[in-house]
């Protein structure tokens, strides 16, 4: 120990100088206000850039959980938004009216296809999560994905809107004319809106939304825009092409809309239901 000290005294001038200066610097910066402010300000400038790069790196690894929690948050917000859509009609003040409420479950698509004649999807939520068949599935508020057709404990099969058997009740926004939205081509972006009567007035570019006349989807969910309207000889209905808002090939996070009153409604409509 003494030898170490002697060695330090003999050869360690620079070393001791640096240590003492470091200690003095620490004292200056800690105990003098102006120096502290200047030091902190400048050190933030320097470390700011470095910190940003480091957090970007670490953030990347937590993206997986982040997107899950964001999907949950989205579901909550959507729920409130859709409930407010239905409440606007003013029905909650009527005596004996059923309460309007919706449950929204976020889910992830684990199987998808858009190239077949009839397309199905698989989502990673099932009966144990509160989802049943016959519930609408949307891609946030950007467009529709399909309707759940079969459910197991943990997974659900969804009938994509790109399926020949899919038929969604849709209307032209603000015009009121409604019809069935079906898929007849092989183009994953275009669907047909059938049964728009010949006397309807609307224009190319109008928005198509869900009509609310179904037990699957609430009203006014955006679907797409009208791409073309044609009237063929001798027909009483327009041929309306609808271009979807959402790209089903890129869909990842979806939201399943469940209406607690669905069972009651389904019992009444059973004889007429298309499925």
């Amino acid at each position: 120990m003494i030898n170490l000290f002697k060695f330090l005294v003999k050869n360690g001038a620079v070393f001791v100088f640096l240590i003492l200066q470091a200690f003095c610097f620490w004292m200056v910066v800690t105990f003098n206000e102006t120096h502290r402010t200047i030091f902190l300000h400048n050190s933030v400038l320097v470390t700011g850039g470095v910190q940003e790069k480091i957090t970007n790196f670490y953030d990347y690894w937590s993206l997986y959980h982040l997107s899950d929690s964001l999907a949950e948050e989205n579901a909550q917000l959507m729920r409130q938004l859709l409930v407010s859509y239905t409440k606007e009609r003013g029905y909650e003040n009527r005596e004996g009216a059923a309460p309007d409420s919706l449950d929204i479950f976020p889910a992830k698509i684990i199987y998808n296809s858009i190239t077949n004649r009839n397309n199905n999807l698989l989502i990673n939520r099932g009966l144990s999560h509160g989802i049943d068949k016959g519930m609408g599935v949307t891609d946030g508020l950007n467009g529709l994905v399909g309707i759940t057709s079969e459910c197991s404990e943990h997974y659900c099969r969804v009938l994509s809107i790109l399926h020949t058997q899919s038929s969604i009740s849709a209307k032209i926004k603000n015009r009121g004319y409604f019809g069935s939205l079906v898929w007849r081509t092989l183009n994953p972006h275009l669907l047909h809106l059938e049964s728009i009567p010949i006397h309807a007035t609307f224009e190319v570019g109008d928005t198509v939304v869900t009509s609310g006349y179904s037990i699957v989807f609430p009203e006014n969910l955006p679907i797409g825009t009208i791409e073309s309207k044609e009237l063929s000889q001798g027909s009483n209905f327009f041929q309306v092409d609808v271009r979807l808002f959402n790209d089903l090939s890129k869909a990842k996070y979806v939201y399943v809309i469940s209406d607690p009153q669905n069972e009651e409604k389904r019992q009444l409509i059973k004889p007429f239901m298309y499925e």
Partner: protein, 173 residues
Amino acid sequence: MNERVLKYLIWGIVLLLLQILIFKNINIGWGDFYYIHILVYPLLILFLPINIPRVYLMLIGFGVGMIVDLFYLSPGIHSSALVFLAFIRQPLLNILEPRGGYKVATTPTPYHLGLNWFLTYAAILMFLHHLFYFSIEIFTFDLMLFIWLKTIFSFIFSMLFILALVLITNPRY
């Protein structure tokens, strides 16, 4: 040996008292800014024996600096400047070595080595010390002008007072 240490200590205490009681309160300037701050305590480090190891030199400098800091209420600033002074004292002594070496003198005082030599030695060290001290005190580079102004004017006045002190007391150890 002990007598020398005692003499040195008395000289040191007197110097520190002078600095703290009198020179601390002199803040002359003109216009808005105070340019003249007189610092004479580095003389303490200047007068230490020539052969003392650098590490002890720096530790003593640190200690004296802390004491001055205590009274100036600026923790670390004076210590930092004195440690720097102690660090460069040795190489400077090597550079300023007179032709015959330092053989007789063991402390770099005007009594042993001559007033001219001492003035050179003191001026260089005091100037560097003041520069370092004011740089640390201001701590930014935008006020560089002030650092230089303060250094130059304080240096002139500090040197005057050191000269006066040395001529009057003429320490012999």
